[in-house]
Symmetry: C2
Subunit: 324 residues, 2 copies
Amino acid sequence: MVGVRKFKIAAIQVGPIARAAKREEVVERLRGLLEEAAEKNATLAVFPELTLTTFFPKWLIDTQEEVDSYFEKGDITKGPCKPLFDLAKHRGIGFYLGYAELTEDGHHFNTSILVDNRGEVVHKYRKVHLPGFVEPIADVPFQQLEKRYFEYGDLGFEAVRTNPEWIDATVGMLICNDRRWPEAWRSYSLQGMDLMLIGYNSVANAVGLFGDKENKTLRQYHSDLSVQSNAYFNSCYAVSVGKCGNEEGQNLLAGSLIVDPTGRTMVQSEIEDDDVMVREIDLDETIVGKQKMFDFARHRRPECYTRLTEQKGAVALPPYSEKK
Amino acid sequence: MVGVRKFKIAAIQVGPIARAAKREEVVERLRGLLEEAAEKNATLAVFPELTLTTFFPKWLIDTQEEVDSYFEKGDITKGPCKPLFDLAKHRGIGFYLGYAELTEDGHHFNTSILVDNRGEVVHKYRKVHLPGFVEPIADVPFQQLEKRYFEYGDLGFEAVRTNPEWIDATVGMLICNDRRWPEAWRSYSLQGMDLMLIGYNSVANAVGLFGDKENKTLRQYHSDLSVQSNAYFNSCYAVSVGKCGNEEGQNLLAGSLIVDPTGRTMVQSEIEDDDVMVREIDLDETIVGKQKMFDFARHRRPECYTRLTEQKGAVALPPYSEKK
């Protein structure tokens, strides 16, 4: 059997979600967007990070009870998100969905799942590169407290092969800040990954937290650059999708995009609201890069990369001293 | 003593060098360009890869004697390149120079050196990521035989701290294809590298070798993207300089550039010939990225990156099988 290598993929950008929004309302909105993707003949759609709620790590939240209210408990296919899984099965459209996961045994993760065309969860990823802080920063309009509300993902970077009758892909999943870390991409492409799916909530004006010189234009550039370059370095398609717009006073980046294996943008959203963009991709287009410029077996030199795994932080060289 | 963190740096792009060009003529040309950089008050200048000769790996060369004629033997500071070292000392301008190195004991490397403002060699790098092939490919107008003529660099990625009275930098050096490998950049930035120097000879139309869809525009995009993205991911300045133009019938990329620690191009050559571009850089501008978004000690997760050093080539996942 020859698998499905050429198919249509949807980037589903989502506009702001209010703090008070009910989960059922959000899911109904997402269901409509997924329906639109299916109408456009997409067989896989990508939603953002933490798609079901407002981006709550911007606040220092008083009670664990309120924190937990932003999380999904139990079997996600059976709760308020059930309409998404039903539609996936009914229309034969799989999806990537980011959400806050509270496990049965009380662990909190920033998670994404891959759902196939039968509406079944076929893979899960938990965000490894949590940005931000554990403790709040004084005198900033918004916090970035992901390190407070989430635990580090415990599933590593495990790619997954999909049912070739649906799509014949080796899929990697990342979440938001992960996309800026080449180690994450490479960990997947060393498993033959040819399609990377990414959701994000990226602040457009990170006042006080990441340096005051970063305006929206620069942060969009960084978001695009991270995906374009790593798609090129790893010869894969990448779909990177944001929750965007003015969300409870905080501006989130839009600019969701689909990038080809040469690192070029195929399509990018030009609005700051819900947006369903569909493009046909052909995973065989990833092969030339994997066999030529980025044939890892011929060209990588892992014996020279030992610092990458033996060190975590940078270790400055000793000060200069005269050698001669 | 407070070191020199703010200074002027020169990207010295070099036009084609003929096969028949005498070494003394080339050096005299380079000396003039270095003089021009000094006139523009640069204290460090960057020359391309294999600056002293034509890019000979494009040919299958019959005899080892001819191959060796493209290499520098013995102490490079004393041979035909001596005028460059003399000028460095006289004008107080250091430089990065790429050349083919034949060691006393007969090893062949694609090498770059860092020379300080006293005209002394303070560091050496030997290219790790040799592209191309050992054996020639049939029916292509030009070969890429770096894997035939050079041995893999045996010095790893060792950054160097420079004399702070000249420039107070932690310098990394890469050569050409190395710039496309994030592992190389990260190996340096884990040592606190804040200034990356790169020389290249990159084919503008790699007919038959790297896929026929890669035209000059795309290859320039890849060259730029590699430097911009990795400068951003590692919060360093980067100077990437090519030997360019129509060299013995082969078109080499121009577009030499200086990139800031946010990944933005400060200046890029618009000609395909000798070009001396000077910009002031302030290494303190690298600090915010290293302390915020890319504070490795807080944000990297090396326990998840083990594939990067345990594996060389990609290992495809087993074919899909029904799990449920």
